[in-house]
């Protein structure tokens, strides 16, 4: 048994390790950029809706439509559909660098929606109390809206991250590698079932761990 394991590791260990690194790179970088774009978009979605601080019908509808359109497109299609855009932004369309752009385009609107629903849960009365104290709107956004919904935000980001891990499986099509790609190319196409099982197992552990971490952090941030 142990001989079998060491034989497997000798053969596949390096590939699996680099696949893990690639997955972490893709998820980490595109999550960071997606949050930087998605969180403000979510705030904007909340503030521009009717009867909110920055009520703006045109902007609200525009944002809504654009987000819905992007979210309608399956990632595999989006990946090819925006190739020219990817080339323009990243300078390349292959490898980890080339897949970050489509991953961000895919994830940022999703995060915007998740942030929107988290922020909408915040008690209107608290925002009002801060308006009544003469606190500036930008301070209210951060110190009331985001702060009060941070528990839901963490849960939302957990969901988004797991979705992102799923999307990176298709990144192999543009040569970016990662765990999903390894399972597909070697495990599925070349009938190396061992490789498929091991990578799927690693993905399960990863997703399971992330969800538990998200749940614990969210519960800790929640004070009511």
């Amino acid at each position: 048994m142990s001989a079998k394991i060491s034989e497997f590791l000798d053969l596949w260990g390096a590939d699996i390790w680099s696949a893990i690194i690639e997955t972490f790179q893709m998820v980490g970088i595109s999550l960071l950029i997606s949050v930087l774009i998605g969180l403000p978009l979510g705030v904007l979605l909340v503030l521009t809706r009717p009867e909110k601080a920055l009520e703006n019908k045109v902007l609200f509808r525009l944002l809504n439509t654009v987000i819905n359109v992007i979210r309608s497109i399956p990632f595999i299609i989006l990946l090819f559909f925006i190739l020219p855009f990817t080339k323009m932004i990243a300078g390349t369309t292959i490898g980890v660098k080339g897949v970050i752009v489509p991953l961000v385009v895919f994830t940022a609107p999703y995060i915007a929606r998740l942030m929107e629903s988290a922020l909408l849960e915040v008690d209107r009365g608290v925002v009002e109390a801060y308006e009544a104290m003469g606190v500036k709107t930008r301070h209210i956004i951060w110190h009331v809206l985001v702060r009060e919904s941070r528990s839901s935000i963490v849960l939302g980001l957990t969901i988004a991250t797991i979705g992102l891990i799923g999307a990176t499986a298709m990144a192999g099509l543009v040569g970016a590698g990662g765990l999903g790609d390894l399972a597909y190319r070697y495990g599925h196409l070349r009938y190396e079932v061992d490789v498929m099982y091991v990578t799927v197992f690693l993905l399960i552990v990863l997703v399971q761990g992330l969800q538990s971490f998200g749940n614990i952090l969210s519960a800790r941030l929640k004070k009511d």
Binding site: D123, G125, V126, E128, A129, Y130, E131, A132, M133, G134, V135, K136, H139, H143, V144, R147, E148, R150, S151, L221, K222, K223, D224
Partner: protein, 344 residues
């Protein structure tokens, strides 16, 4: 000082226009506690929210300390709002912040220096009696304690004016008492002008100097609390006063007693008690007074009493007795079996 000039607020939804507040003017002098009372839907909540422009009036002007708020730019309005405290029925504290953070964060965001923030948090927590709850979260506090934190948060900005939007409506009677006592203390010790709205006459009775009665968006009666208590003019005001005195008489009794004499409602204020006057009545006139119901209650600064008395005798004598009572400073009204239950 707060001054509202011809404030109107209309809401439009589709074709229908609703007037929530209709041409209201009122003035709250510096250092007074002013109550606005009305049933739900009377427009009082909209009214108080227009004082700091949480809602902008459709028409009319709002002045605080002679500054016209309605004409200020957003930046100036924010500065002015820092001098206007407000507390709410639902407390509106940050759930994710401790008591300390709930008071300190708004101070930080309005530019109070760090050292000063700590001083003020300590000072005002002490005043509201929650120094030991500094690190508790709102979910660990009772309703009354939450409202105390909200009061400390408002006071920490050292405002000239405090607005209370149904601040005691979510609290039980004992807690209501203690919050009212705290508001009274704040008014006395810091000279903060308080404008409160409520649907409980008890609140007005307990701490207000002046009161306005609202109905259908209009102020239908306003004046000193003692005057409204002793001589309410509108039926709504009468109902509110009545709500404090459980002195409805059985109808059969009223009918029987009215056959020989009249039943009157006597109101008297302060030391000038109604009872001695009543004693004189029986000596001076051929009238036998008997007290059917009576109650003395404490208004903010003086006692207020109400007696329902049967004056037995012929019409001439009882009318003269009534005239005498009025001369002695007692407000006399015929007893009316009315006050149909208000459906709200």
């Amino acid at each position: 000082m707060i001054r509202l000039e011809n404030i109107t607020k209309t809401y439009q939804s589709g074709e229908t226009v609703t007037k929530a507040v209709d041409d209201v003017s009122l003035q709250v002098e510096k250092g007074t506690i002013y109550g606005v009372i009305g049933y739900s839907g009377a427009g009082k909540s909209t009214l108080v929210r227009m004082v700091n422009l949480l809602e902008r009036p459709t028409n009319g002007k709002v002045f605080i300390n002679d500054v016209e708020l309605t004409s200020l730019s957003t930046g100036k309005l924010q500065k002015t709002r820092q001098r206007i405290g407000m507390i709410f029925q639902s407390f509106n504290l940050l759930k994710t912040g401790t008591v300390h953070q709930n008071i300190a964060i708004p101070l930080k965001l309005t530019g109070v220096p760090k050292k000063e923030i700590e001083n003020r948090v300590d000072k005002y927590l002490e005043i509201v009696g929650l120094s030991d709850k500094r690190d508790a979260y709102p979910s660990q506090l009772s309703g009354g304690q939450k409202q105390r934190v909200a009061i400390a948060r408002a006071l920490a900005h050292e405002p000239d004016v405090l607005l209370c939007d149904e601040a005691t409506s979510a609290l039980d009677p004992d807690t209501t008492e203690s919050i009212l006592a705290l508001l009274e203390q704040i008014n006395r010790d810091f000279g903060i002008t308080i404008l409160l709205i409520t649907h409980e006459m008890h609140v007005v009775q307990k701490i207000c100097h002046e009161v306005a009665v609202m109905e259908n968006g209009k102020v239908i009666e306003q004046g000193r609390v003692v005057d409204i208590f002793s001589q309410p003019e509108t039926s709504t005001a009468k109902r509110f006063v009545q709500s404090l005195f459980q002195d409805e008489l059985p109808e059969s009794l009223v009918t029987r007693l009215k056959e020989n004499g009249q039943i009157v409602n006597l109101s008297f204020i302060g030391e000038r008690s109604g009872s001695p006057a009543l004693a004189h009545v029986s000596k001076k006139f051929d009238v036998y007074p008997s007290i059917l119901a009576g109650n003395i209650t404490q208004l903010k600064d003086q006692p207020f009493g109400r007696l329902i008395v049967h004056l037995e005798g012929n019409a001439d004598e009882t009318n003269r007795a009534v005239a005498f009572l009025e001369e002695s400073g007692v407000v006399v009204e015929g007893y009316v079996q009315e006050v149909e239950a208000h459906v709200s």
